[in-house]
Every structure is written in C-alpha cells, then in structure tokens.
Symmetry: C2
Subunit: 124 residues, 2 copies
C-alpha cells in the first residue's frame, strides 16, 4: 500500500470545502511564493540573491516562504560548511512544474495592469 491515499485523488477538488488542494492553492497564491519560485526559475540561488531579486521581502518572510516550499518538496536547501556560510536553494522537479503556471500569472498581471487601472479609474 501507499502513504498517499489519504483521499481518492480522483475526487480532489478545490471547490470542496476541506479538500487539501484548496490549502495548497492558498499557499502558492500567497504574497511571496510566486516571486520566490520565479526567482529560482533562473537556477540555484543563495538566500541573499533571492532577497535582492524579490525586492522588499523581509528576511523573516523569505525564510518562512522558503521553509514552506522545502516542506512541500518544491525547493531543496543545501548548506555548504564554509565560513562565511553559503546556502543554496533550488527548485525540485515538482517545483519546476510550477514555473509555467506561475509565469503565466505574472504575465497576465503585467499585460492587463493597464486595463485594471483604467477600470479602477473609471469609477474614481
């Protein structure tokens, strides 16, 4: 037997109240995950590199986001025993499968920002 048969995968449906996919969507839709995954899409990155790329993220939130991604198997963390310490984060195979959907979202936001601003202004 397996350890993944908590529920029947065939019935997983985020439209259903307690389906775990809903919590998963919550997580990948949070304020920083989209950007952190995007930053890591370019290849392995150090903590400070990601922090610079994701402008404005606090140390706390970056750590927290990376830990969550690690726990979900989307990112690996590799620490090199050097001084000063060096730590690299990298997308896993599963993490890579998120790149395209998230990039599509980013592109949507950039493409349609003018239309959204216009709609907001129209009811100013």
């Amino acid at each position: 037997m397996t350890t993944t048969d908590t529920l029947d995968p065939l019935v997983w449906d985020p439209y259903v109240r307690d389906c775990p996919t809903r919590a998963l969507l919550d997580r990948i839709g949070d304020r920083w995950t989209v950007l952190v995954i995007g930053a890591l899409a370019d290849g392995p990155q150090r903590f400070s590199q990601i922090a610079r790329r994701v402008d404005g993220v606090s140390q706390k939130m970056l750590t927290q986001t990376l830990r969550a991604l690690e726990a979900d198997g989307l990112v690996t963390r590799t620490q090199y025993p050097e001084i000063p310490p060096r730590v690299e984060y990298e997308l896993t195979a599963v993490g890579h499968t998120l790149r395209d959907p998230l990039r599509a979202l980013e592109e949507w936001a950039v493409t349609h920002m003018p239309a959204v601003l216009a709609a907001r202004a129209a009811r100013g």
Copy 2:
C-alpha cells in the same frame, strides 16, 4: 493623452517593490478569487449559485471578492428589479483572460497534491 500612463507599462515588474502588478497578483491569488473566477467560467451566475459552487465561502467574503473583481473590471454585476431580487455576475472580456492561467493553477494543485502530501509525510 491617456489616463493609464501612471508608470511606463514596459517597466512593470512584480519583482519591484511598489509595482502595482504585485498588488494585483496578491489580489488574484487570494483565497477566493481563483475559485470565484472558476465558478463564473461556466457563464453568468447568481450570487447563491456561486456560493453553492464555492463550498464554504461566507456571504461576506463572497460579496467582498465580487466587489473587488467588479472594481477591477473583471466581473460585471447586473441587478434585475424583480421580487425577490435577482442578481447576476458575469466575467468581462478581461475577466475571461484570467480563466486559463487560473485553471492551470487549479490543475497543478490537483495533479501534484499527492507529491506534496508525500513530501510533507516524509519529514514526519
């Protein structure tokens, strides 16, 4: 001149701290927007229909989500002066452009839920 040249569209970039695209991503990534847009993908829906489809959403959050989508020009609200009142929500043209990216996200969540659960279980 136009009213949409708040910033140069060519430099819109969610990786930059105060870029409005980042707030837009926040919004469409919130707990309910993905599901509400998905519900409306089937065509115009009444408030109560959406509420049933998006299992567990509170009246308050559904109203709030729909108002935000309306303000951003992604959804239209049509009230029919009947008794009892009937209100229909429908995706705008721009709203429709969100369907595919969001559906891709949903599908990612459903597809990779087992892998994520396995990763979580693997670290007890």
